[in-house]
C-alpha cells in the first residue's frame, strides 16, 4: 500500500492569472482610447428623427423610432424571438403529463390569485399606451409573461394551453408582415404609415396611424412567446 504524496506547496493558478492579465490589458487599452475620445455634441441622426417625429403625430418619440423609423429592425427582432422560442420548444418540449414542481406556500397561492389579474391589466395598459407614455409592446409583453411565471410557480396544475399560444403567435406575426406588405401596396414603401396620422391627434389614444396597432401586435407576440419559453424551462418530465 503506497502512500500518495500530497504536495504542500499551493500551485500557481496559471489560467486564472493569465486570463486576468490578458483581459486587464485589453480593457485598459480600450479604456485609454475611450477616455481620450469623450463624445462632444455632434448632430446625430436621432436629432433629425426627433424633428420628423411631429409628422407622425405620436407623443412618444422612442416608440416612433422603434416601430416606424426602424420598424424593420423590430420585425427582425420579432423573428429572432420567434425562432428562439421555436428552438427552446424543440429542445425541451415534453409530452408527458407528469411534472415535478414542489408544492408551494399557501401565502403564495392566495396572493398570486389576487395579483395575476392586476399584473395582466398593468401589462395591457403599458402595451396599449406605449405611444403616449414610456412603455410599449416589449415592456407590456414581458410584464404579462412575468404574471404567467408567477402563476406557474405557485400552482402545480397550471399550464398555459399550447394551442392558444400558437394561435396568438401566428395571428400577431402574420398581421405584422401583412401590415408591411399593405404599406408596400398602398404607399410603395414597405412598412409605410398608411392609416391617418394627423398631428392634431397627438396625445389621444387613436393617433399615429399604424404605430399603436403594430406595437400592440408586438406586445401580443412577445407576451405569448415569453410565456411559452418560461413554461418550457420550468416544466420537466423528470428530475434533472
Amino acid at each position: 500500500m503506497s502512500v500518495k504524496k500530497i504536495s504542500l506547496k499551493r500551485e500557481l493558478p496559471t489560467t486564472t492569472l493569465s486570463g486576468f492579465a490578458l483581459s486587464g490589458l485589453l480593457v485598459l487599452t480600450i479604456l485609454n482610447i475611450l477616455l481620450q475620445n469623450m463624445p462632444s455634441k455632434i448632430q446625430t441622426a436621432g436629432d433629425a428623427l426627433l424633428k420628423l417625429n411631429a409628422t407622425e403625430g405620436v407623443a412618444n418619440a422612442v416608440t416612433t423610432v422603434v416601430v416606424f423609423f426602424r420598424g424593420f429592425d423590430t420585425l427582425g427582432e420579432i423573428a429572432v424571438l420567434f425562432i428562439a422560442s421555436l428552438g427552446i420548444g424543440l429542445m425541451l418540449h415534453s409530452n408527458s403529463k407528469c411534472n415535478i414542481k414542489a408544492e408551494s406556500n399557501f401565502m403564495l397561492q392566495t396572493a398570486s390569485k389576487l395579483l395575476f389579474p392586476i399584473i395582466l391589466l398593468f401589462g395591457t395598459y403599458v402595451m396599449i399606451y406605449g405611444h403616449l407614455s414610456p412603455g410599449g409592446g416589449f415592456q407590456g409583453g414581458v410584464i404579462i409573461a412575468s404574471g404567467v411565471l408567477l402563476l406557474l410557480i405557485s400552482h402545480k396544475a397550471f399550464e398555459v394551453p399550447h394551442s392558444v399560444i400558437v394561435a396568438l403567435e401566428t395571428f400577431a406575426g402574420v398581421s405584422y408582415v401583412l401590415i408591411g406588405l399593405i404599406g408596400l401596396l398602398v404607399l410603395d414603401v414597405f412598412l409605410g404609415n398608411f392609416l391617418p396620422h394627423d398631428i392634431s391627434q397627438m396625445g389621444l389614444l387613436l393617433s399615429g396611424g399604424i404605430i399603436p396597432l403594430v406595437y400592440i401586435i408586438v406586445g401580443i407576440k412577445v407576451g405569448s412567446e415569453m410565456s411559452m419559453i418560461v413554461q418550457n424551462l420550468i416544466q420537466r418530465d423528470h428530475d434533472v
Binding site: 441622426a45 433629425a48 423609423f69 425562432i83 428552438g87 401566428t170 406575426g173 408596400l184 414597405f190 409605410g192
Partner: protein, 482 residues
C-alpha cells in the same frame, strides 16, 4: 416587383406555418418549395435591371433603412436562392425515407436562414446588418443541434458560444460608431470615417475585425468550425458552407471597402488569409472523419476567398467571386452526397467511401473535388488562376508561394480520397439515389464543367459586380445625395 419580397415572403411563411400545416402532412414542404421557386424566378427577373437602385423601407435614407440592389448583391441573391431551391428539392425526396421529426420547424428555420442571408447582402444600415446576423446565427445554431444527439448538441453549443461572443464585439463596435459619427447608415459612416481620430478608428476597426472574424472563419478564430461541421448533419453542412459563410464574407468586405477605401489593412489581411489557408490544409491532412476533412478543406477555400477579396483590386475581386461560385456548388454536391452515404451507412469514416458503388456518384464527387483543386476545364481553375495572377501582378510572391503550397497539400488528400473511392475493395450494395436527385447532382456538376470550359458566360457579369463592390463613392452618393 420589389426586393423586399425576398425577406418578407420567407418571414410570412415562417409565421404562418401553423396555418399551412393544416393542409395535410406535406402542406408545409410543398408551399415552402413553391415560395422558393417564386423567389428564384424573381431573382432571375431582376437580372434585366441594368442599374443599381435603392429600395426604401419606412422613410428615405440616410435617416431610414434601405436596401441597395446592385450587380454584386444580385449575384449573391441569385446564388442563395438557387442553392436553397435545389436544397429543398433534394430534401423533399430525402424525407421520403429519412425525415426529420417535427419537420415544420425545419422548414421554418431553412426559410429564416434564406431571408437572413439575403438581407445581409442587401441591407445598407449597420444595425440592420447586426439584426440579420442574429437571425442567421440563431437559425444556424438550431439547425446544427437539430438531431438532439450529444454530438449535435455539442456542435450547437460551441456554435452558439462563439456566435454570442462575436455579437458582443459587434455591438461594441456599432455603439462606438454611433457615439462618434452619429448615424447608422453605411454611406454616412463611410463619408465620415476617415475624419475620426486615429486611435478610435483603430479601436473600431479591430473590434469589427474580431466580431466578423469569428464568423468569417479566419485564423485564429476558426477553432469552432470543424467541431460544428462534424457534429451537425451533412445536409446542414451544405447550407453552412454554401450559403451562410458566403453572406458573411460579402458583408465583411463590403463594409471594409466602404470604410477603408485606401486599403490601410490590405497587407495584414492578405497575409492573415494566406496563413489561415496553410494552417487549415496542414491540419486537414491527417483527418479520417470525412465531415471533418471536408470542413478543413472548406476552411482553406474560404481563406483563399478571403485573401483574394482582401487584395482590394478589380481582378482579384472577380477571381474571388468565381471561387465563391465554384466553391459553393462543389461543397453543396459533396455534402449532399455525404448525407446520402450517412443515411445508408451511419458512419462517416474515410473507408466508407469504398461503399460508393455507383459510378455516377463517383464521377460527380470526382468532378467536385477536381473543381475545388483548380484543375483546368473545371470552374475552380478559373478562379484560382485569376487569383494567383493578381497576387503575382502585385508582387506578393510570398503569398503566392503559401497559396500554392496549401493547394498542393489539398491535392494530396483529395487524391487519397479519390484512391479510396476507386479502390477495388469489397463490394457493398449500391446506394439508393432517386432519379430526381441524380438529375440535381448532374445539373450542378454540369454547371461546374460549363463555367470551366466557357467562363465568358459569367465573367462579364462578375467583372461588373467587382467594380460595383469597389466603387464606394457612387454607393455613398446614391444613398446620401439622392
Amino acid at each position: 416587383m420589389s426586393s423586399i419580397l425576398f425577406i418578407a415572403l420567407p418571414l410570412l411563411f415562417g409565421f404562418a406555418t401553423p396555418i399551412l400545416s393544416k393542409f395535410g402532412k406535406n402542406g408545409v414542404a410543398y408551399t415552402s418549395m413553391i415560395m422558393q421557386l417564386f423567389l428564384l424566378a424573381l431573382a432571375v427577373s431582376l437580372l434585366t435591371t441594368t442599374s443599381s437602385y435603392v429600395e426604401i423601407i419606412s422613410i428615405a435614407p440616410p435617416l431610414g433603412i434601405s436596401f441597395v440592389l446592385n450587380s454584386a448583391s444580385l449575384f449573391f441573391v441569385l446564388l442563395f436562392t438557387l442553392l436553397m431551391t435545389l436544397f429543398s428539392l433534394y430534401y423533399l425526396i430525402h424525407r421520403k425515407t429519412d425525415a426529420y421529426k417535427d419537420e415544420t420547424k425545419f422548414f421554418i428555420l431553412l426559410n429564416m436562414l434564406l431571408a437572413a442571408a439575403i438581407g445581409l447582402v442587401l441591407s445598407s444600415d449597420i444595425f440592420n446588418i447586426y439584426v440579420f446576423f442574429e437571425i442567421a446565427g440563431i437559425s444556424a445554431y438550431i439547425l446544427s443541434a437539430y438531431k438532439k444527439t450529444s454530438s449535435a448538441l455539442e456542435a450547437g453549443l460551441k456554435y452558439l458560444l462563439t456566435g454570442a461572443v462575436a455579437s458582443v464585439f459587434l455591438v461594441f463596435a456599432i455603439a462606438l460608431i454611433y457615439i462618434n459619427i452619429g448615424s447608422l447608415n453605411l454611406a454616412v459612416i463611410a463619408h465620415s470615417f476617415e475624419a475620426l481620430p486615429y486611435n478610435i478608428k483603430l479601436l473600431i476597426s479591430i473590434l469589427l475585425l474580431i466580431g466578423f472574424g469569428f464568423k468569417v472563419e479566419i485564423f485564429p478564430l476558426n477553432f469552432w468550425v470543424t467541431d460544428v461541421y462534424q457534429g451537425s448533419s451533412s445536409l446542414v453542412n451544405a447550407l453552412f458552407s454554401g450559403i451562410v459563410v458566403k453572406a458573411y464574407l460579402f458583408v465583411f468586405f463590403h463594409i471594409l471597402y466602404l470604410f477603408l477605401p485606401n486599403g490601410d489593412f490590405t497587407v495584414f489581411l492578405v497575409y492573415l488569409g494566406a496563413i489561415s489557408m496553410l494552417v487549415a490544409e496542414i491540419v486537414g491532412l491527417r483527418q479520417t472523419n470525412l465531415k471533418r476533412l471536408f470542413a478543413y478543406s472548406s476552411l482553406g477555400q474560404v481563406a483563399l476567398i478571403f485573401t483574394a477579396f482582401a487584395m482590394q483590386n478589380k481582378d482579384a475581386i472577380q477571381a474571388a467571386l468565381f471561387i465563391v461560385f465554384s466553391h459553393s456548388v462543389a461543397k453543396f454536391i459533396i455534402f449532399l452526397v455525404l448525407s446520402a452515404i450517412e443515411k445508408e451507412h451511419k458512419s462517416i469514416h474515410i473507408d466508407t467511401l469504398k461503399a460508393l458503388n455507383s459510378s455516377f456518384l463517383r464521377a460527380i464527387m470526382l468532378i467536385a473535388m477536381l473543381s475545388l483543386l483548380g484543375i483546368p476545364l473545371f470552374a475552380g481553375f478559373i478562379g484560382k488562376f485569376l487569383a494567383l495572377k493578381s497576387f503575382a501582378v502585385e508582387g506578393l510572391f510570398v503569398v503566392l508561394a503559401i497559396i500554392i503550397i496549401g493547394s498542393l497539400i489539398e491535392a494530396v488528400y483529395y487524391f487519397k480520397l479519390a484512391g479510396f473511392m476507386f479502390a477495388k475493395g469489397e463490394k457493398r450494395e449500391p446506394l439508393k439515389i432517386a432519379l430526381a436527385q441524380k438529375t440535381l447532382f448532374g445539373l450542378l456538376a454540369f454547371s461546374l464543367i460549363l463555367i470551366g470550359i466557357a467562363p465568358i458566360t459569367i465573367s462579364g457579369f462578375l467583372l461588373d459586380a467587382s467594380s460595383v463592390m469597389l466603387d464606394g463613392k457612387s454607393y455613398v452618393s446614391m444613398l446620401v445625395g439622392g
